[in-house]
């Protein structure tokens, strides 16, 4: 195994009966980076993470996670990974300190180190005031910080986070990501699944999943530079009519409305995207400001998850 990679997966598949949750997935996750899994609900993000930590047996394919072969006994892997579930999974009827204490015991943290480590985490994740509070009575953001503190208590090499920010407010999300960067700087490899574009944008690398298939991967910059589409922004007084004019028009791959603006994707092989859009708008008598722009991650997502017939438009 190449030591530069924390995770290497080859042709990983998981089928539940007729449902192909994950199909033929190849992955290379470099050590010490934040690797994002972007995809809608049901795209196979959780299934992949569960296969990688040995909770689910792959139907086909293999993986190597921190030197442990998957499928196989994940016993040696468990002490090296930290896992944060989508739903809060700590004990709501125990206090914050008791939860941390329990996790420390489970991971066999030496007795002398437990207290200092717990105090350190309470400080780091801003939970000092909640020490004696029952975990179940805390806010979403506090619960999430506790879950992260528990996941990293034993200094795991790899942190697997399954949609960790789905239940918290934007400020908590920002703080959470600041914590993740700090961990990555400390050498922890982090794999995080999300369906938020802004979160995906923060990852060092990411893979986009669509119905169990990896449709793109790379750094966010790479992905934005290689959509295979021109991105045209249309600012119109009547965006609804502009959208009507473009929706079924020839050579228009997709139209997305953002307030007064429309983001229009035109296949890359067409030379004059701005002129093309302008023509369609003129034909319907819609006045609008049309300009070429760079692709956002959302444009990437729209471009890579569309069917082949839309792609050539």
């Amino acid at each position: 195994m190449n030591n530069d990679y924390a995770i290497e997966a080859n042709g990983l598949s998981k089928h539940f009966g007729d449902l192909k949750a994950v199909s033929n997935l190849d992955l290379k996750v470099p050590r010490g980076q934040i690797y994002g899994f972007l995809g809608p609900n049901g795209s196979g993000k959780s299934t992949t993470i569960r296969m990688l930590c040995g909770l689910l047996t792959p139907t086909e394919g293999t993986a190597n996670v921190l030197g442990t072969a998957i499928p196989g006994s994940a016993r040696n892997l468990k002490p090296k990974i930290g896992y944060m579930t989508q739903k809060f999974s700590l004990f709501g009827d125990m206090t914050v300190a008791e939860n941390l204490q329990f996790i420390a015991e489970i991971y066999s943290v030496p007795k002398a180190e437990r207290r200092p480590r717990i105090d350190e985490l309470l400080g780091k994740y801003d939970l000092g005031g909640q020490r004696r509070q029952l975990a179940g009575t805390m806010s979403g953001g506090q619960k999430q910080r506790l879950a992260l503190a528990c996941a990293v208590l034993h200094h795991p090499e790899l942190l697997l986070l399954d949609e960790p920010t789905s239940a918290v407010d934007p400020q908590s999300r920002r703080d959470f990501w600041a914590n993740l960067f700090r961990l990555a700087e400390g050498g922890t490899t982090i794999m995080v699944s999300t369906h938020y574009m802004d979160e995906a944008e923060r990852c060092h690398r990411l893979a986009i999943l669509d119905r169990g298939i990896k449709v793109a991967d790379g750094t966010p910059q790479d992905l934005q530079g290689n959509t295979g589409m021109h991105t045209v922004e249309v600012t119109a007084d009547d965006p609804y009519r502009a959208q009507e004019a473009l929706d079924c028009a020839e050579h228009v791959a997709s139209v997305t409305q953002l307030g007064m603006r429309l983001r229009v994707l035109i296949p890359e092989h067409l030379a004059e995207p701005v002129g093309l859009v302008q023509q369609h708008l003129d034909a319907h008598g819609v006045t609008a400001n049309v300009r070429l722009t760079t692709a956002s991650l959302e444009d990437v997502f729209v471009a890579v998850t569309m069917g082949p017939e839309e792609r050539v438009a």
Binding site: Y83, T85, L90, D93, S108
Partner: protein, 365 residues
């Protein structure tokens, strides 16, 4: 070493949660005490004072003597004398009486005639316990003082051993121990594990170095202790309130109970691997609990059940446990003498535990 400390961490956590869960904690003490009071005072299989009317058409010395003896059994409470059997039928129909006694004109001749019954009992058959009492009554000896009575099939009086005063609690409490332990042990274990699955705790735990064995044993230990505490509680309340004798050895009883608790915990674990929600776990518990009450010999005599029901009863751990407790507590039997019941409990534990271990893996698929 690490394994043991992880196991104890699970146990500590379980105790901590249990202490905070006031309702469950209350149930641990409340269930045995309340059930004992309920069953001990309310269940009375020893039927007395059934309302009875008599149509004494003979009205002789012998018939009056018979009625007096009938009254002395205290099983019947003679509230009325009527003239004709038809009047008895009418009162039965109206529910005014449960038993009607018809003494025919030729009572004295019938007593010495083995071919004809001397007395007719009209019985309200809608209540099975009353019918069984009537069957008991037909064994009452009816005799002339001279002793020239006829040889008959039903003239043997049933005199119950070991509980001569026929107090129901003495029979009920040893069986009740089994039912209470079945309920709490099986329900608590099954629910404790399913609850963690429901709340998502299990998904976190199976991603830690904790093994399934550590998890299962760690979770079960507090409930074994609880079972032993409940047992002590039942014995004390049984002694204080109902004067249930403890003729055998207390150590034997605790050893037998240990085997029984193990069987129930194994069953609880097996249930927890099948049930997806706490509600399902509860339903499955009651699926086992009802036959445990009805088919184990706790309420109905085991020997009186149809063959098929007896087979079902033999599968239930509580059937064997009730035989053990009644044997040890009432008949002063030793644990060694009752070894077949112990073997049955051991076998049951083995099967349930194997099933649970096979189904409970640290995987989600």
């Amino acid at each position: 070493m690490k394994s043991l400390s992880r196991l104890l961490a699970i146990t500590r956590k379980e105790v901590r949660q249990l202490r905070r869960d006031r309702l469950t904690f209350g149930m641990i003490v409340g269930i045995p005490v309340i059930q004992m009071l309920l069953f001990g005072y309310a269940i009375n299989t020893d039927v007395r004072n059934l309302r009875t009317a008599v149509a004494d058409q003979a009205n002789t010395h012998l018939s009056r003597q018979f009625v007096a003896e009938l009254r002395e059994t205290q099983v019947v409470d003679i509230i009325e004398f009527v003239d004709t059997p038809a009047a008895l039928v009418e009162r039965l129909r109206l529910g005014e009486i449960s038993i009607g006694v018809v003494i025919p004109h030729d009572f004295e001749r019938r007593v010495i005639d083995p071919e004809r019954p001397a007395v007719h009992l009209l019985v309200d058959g809608s209540d099975p316990t009353i019918s069984s009492v009537a069957i008991q009554l037909r064994n009452m000896p009816i005799a002339f003082d001279t002793g020239k009575n006829a040889p008959r099939e039903h003239n043997i009086e049933v005199r119950p051993s070991y509980n001569p005063e026929r107090r129901t609690p003495v029979n009920i409490i040893p069986g009740l121990m089994g039912v209470i332990l079945t309920l709490t042990m099986m329900l608590f274990t099954a629910v404790a594990i399913v609850r963690e699955r429901e709340r998502g705790n299990l998904e976190l735990l199976i991603n830690t170095p904790v093994s399934s064995a550590e998890l299962m044993i760690g979770k079960v230990i507090p409930y074994i202790v609880i079972g032993m505490i409940q047992l002590a509680l039942i014995l004390v309340v049984g002694d204080v309130l109902f004067e249930v004798p403890m003729r055998g050895s207390v150590l034997d009883l605790y050893l037998a109970s240990g085997a029984f608790i193990a069987a129930n915990l194994a069953l609880g674990l097996a249930i927890s691997t099948v049930a997806k929600t706490q509600f399902q776990a509860m339903q499955m518990t009651f699926f086992v609990l009802l036959p445990s009450i009805l088919l184990s010999g706790f309420v109905f005599p085991f020997d009186g059940m149809p063959h098929f029901a007896q087979l079902l009863g033999e599968i239930l751990p509580v059937t064997h446990y009730i035989r053990l407790t009644r044997g040890i507590m009432l008949r002063e039997a030793g644990l060694i003498e009752l070894y077949p019941e112990l073997i049955a409990l051991g076998l049951f534990t083995l099967v349930a535990m194997t099933g649970a271990a096979l189904r409970f893996t640290k995987r989600l698929d």
